[in-house]
């Protein structure tokens, strides 16, 4: 690093590219070791197929169109569920953060519901919705609701009261106060909620699709298990990891764009 710094390269051109590559060293190394272990027979392919076999399985599924269709179905379920649960959680967080009455009315109830693991509702949800789309959306929305609700509420409640007083002194209306002081102040906390929620979103979807679905990545994995297609099983798991990483990166980019004022986002 110090060597690169000492060469007078324009900063911000080469360095980020190298920084961006560093994070991929470990995953690539693991894949390489995995490949070697499989080829040499150190790991039997019945236990774990070689990465090349997984890629090959992926290629076949891609050609048949099955892979894209299943990824699309899962992605669609995840986003719609996230949007529904996230907006409801955000709305409750806003209402309970801004209004004492609303908080008194609903917070205790929500805290009680929160302590029920949402995946425990799967049997009930299957009874209600069957293995319909709405079952998956319901579960994802429920799982996503709480982290977003809690963090929005926390964010609004912890906005510096001195800033709110300042806003009032300078004659801000309620709307302006919300837009210029309260919402931006709560945003870092809301983002924490979003990132938590993204994790829960994938988790919920995997479980729901594995148990009760007729399409999607989880279903694809379960089907493959039935036919002993271990390469497809591993492929589905890898795709989940990739999608999770993608969602996390998207929220990071959004965070960086909206929180550029924050000292933590000003370096680099």
């Amino acid at each position: 690093m110090s060597l690169i710094d000492s060469i007078s390269l324009p900063r911000g051109v080469r360095l980020p590219r190298i920084d961006g590559l560093i994070q991929w060293i470990v995953p690539l190394a693991i894949i390489a070791i995995w490949q070697v272990a499989s080829v040499t027979g150190f790991v039997p392919t019945r236990v774990l197929p070689a990465p090349s076999d997984v890629v090959l399985a992926g290629w076949k599924l891609l050609l048949s169109g099955e892979l894209v269709r299943n990824i699309w179905v899962s992605f669609w379920r995840a986003s719609i569920g996230f949007l529904i649960g996230g907006s409801i959680g955000f709305a409750f967080g806003l209402a309970n953060g801004l209004s004492q009455l609303s908080a008194k009315l609903t917070d205790t109830t929500l805290q009680m519901v929160r302590n029920v693991p949402h995946l425990a509702l799967i049997p009930l949800v299957i009874l209600w919705f069957g293995i319909d789309e709405s079952a998956k959306l319901f579960l994802v929305a429920l799982g996503v609701f709480f982290p977003i609700y809690l963090n929005t509420l926390h964010g609004i409640r912890t906005v510096d009261p001195q800033l709110i007083e300042m806003g009032r002194i300078y004659g801000m209306t309620d709307g302006e106060l919300f837009r210029r002081v309260i919402f931006p102040g709560a945003l870092p906390s809301i983002f924490v909620g979003i990132r938590f929620a993204l994790g829960i979103m994938w988790l919920t979807l995997i479980v729901a699709e594995t148990i009760a679905a007729s399409s999607g990545l989880g279903y694809m994995a379960m089907q493959a298990r039935e036919f002993m297609l271990i390469d497809v099983v591993v492929l589905s798991i890898l795709i989940y990891a990739l999608l999770g990483k993608l969602a996390d990166s998207a929220s990071r980019v959004l965070e960086r764009l909206t929180l550029s004022w924050h000292p933590a986002f000003q370096k680099r």
Partner: protein, 277 residues
């Protein structure tokens, strides 16, 4: 007003006053005195629960005067300032400014800069425009206020990259941008280091002389009070215990014998109040 103030000066300061007086008069005439508002406080009381913080304050502040309020912690000086600024409700008595005031006429500056961390320096200053925030010349006015406090080049920065003194100057620009007629300071320099504090004092004095608003400064620093104010009020147990006129000319010579003796006499008032408790 001038003559009244002079006659109340202690005899010992006559000699040095002769040097300051002509200069002081010139400065006074240059200042737009009509910019400030006079302030009349009658029988002002305020309690928090059982604790009576202000027990009958009667005070007249002429337009454009720079008044410093000193007193030991908990004497009610900050409460008085908050009442003047309209931040808390009055229990009894009245505060009047001689005429109808707009919200933008009275501004407060606190010990903490209270800048919005997510707004650039210029937008933070625009907040001070109050109802004129949306007007077309908001940017120009805010930029002008920033120039007044010497921070023109920082307008596009985030507050988090500024030093403590610079943040406080942005807060001052935000208070000044609406051209207030009364400016209340609640220990605005309390959190700054000694050198920054002195340069901020000079800045406060300069903008006050340029703009002629009525200034009310709450401070625990008696040196600061005599360096800046026309008049120092000592508050003790919810009442005005002493009303001391500082008649040194401006710009003031820090550490002069005149200011030092005044400072010593105010400190002795404060210490005697402290001893009683």
């Amino acid at each position: 007003m001038q003559t009244a103030l002079r006659t109340s000066l202690p005899e010992t300061e006559l000699a040095s006053r002769a040097n300051f007086a002509p200069h002081a008069r010139v400065v006074r005439e240059q200042r737009p005195v009509e910019a400030g508002l006079p302030l009349s406080i009658r029988g002002l009381r305020k309690s928090f629960g059982d604790n009576e913080v202000l027990r009958g304050i009667d005070l007249h502040i002429p337009a454009g005067q720079f008044v410093a309020i000193v007193g030991k912690s908990g004497c009610g000086k900050s409460t008085l300032l908050r009442l003047i600024a309209g931040l808390d409700k009055i229990d009894a008595g009245s505060i009047s400014f001689g005429q109808d005031t707009q919200p933008e006429d009275i501004r407060v500056m606190f010990q903490e800069p209270r800048l919005l961390p997510w707004a650039r320096v210029l937008s933070n200053v625009e907040v001070g425009l109050g109802r004129d925030r949306a007007s077309a010349d908001a940017d120009t006015r805010a930029a002008k206020a920033l120039t007044e406090v010497g921070l023109t080049d920082k307008r596009h920065q985030w507050p988090s990259v500024l030093s403590g003194g610079q943040k406080q100057r942005v807060a001052l620009a935000r208070a000044l941008v609406s051209r207030p007629r009364v400016l209340a300071f609640d220990e605005p320099l309390g959190a700054l280091d000694a050198l920054t504090r002195i340069s901020m004092q000079r800045l406060l004095e300069r903008v006050w002389r340029d703009q002629g608003f009525t200034a009310i400064l709450v401070t625990h620093d008696v040196t600061e009070a005599v360096a800046l104010a026309d008049r120092v009020l000592v508050i003790d147990e919810g009442r005005i215990a002493h009303d001391v006129v500082v008649n040194a000319g401006r710009p003031r010579e820090r550490g002069s014998a005149e200011l030092a003796s005044l400072e010593a006499s105010i400190l002795s008032h404060l210490l005697s109040a402290e001893d009683r408790t």
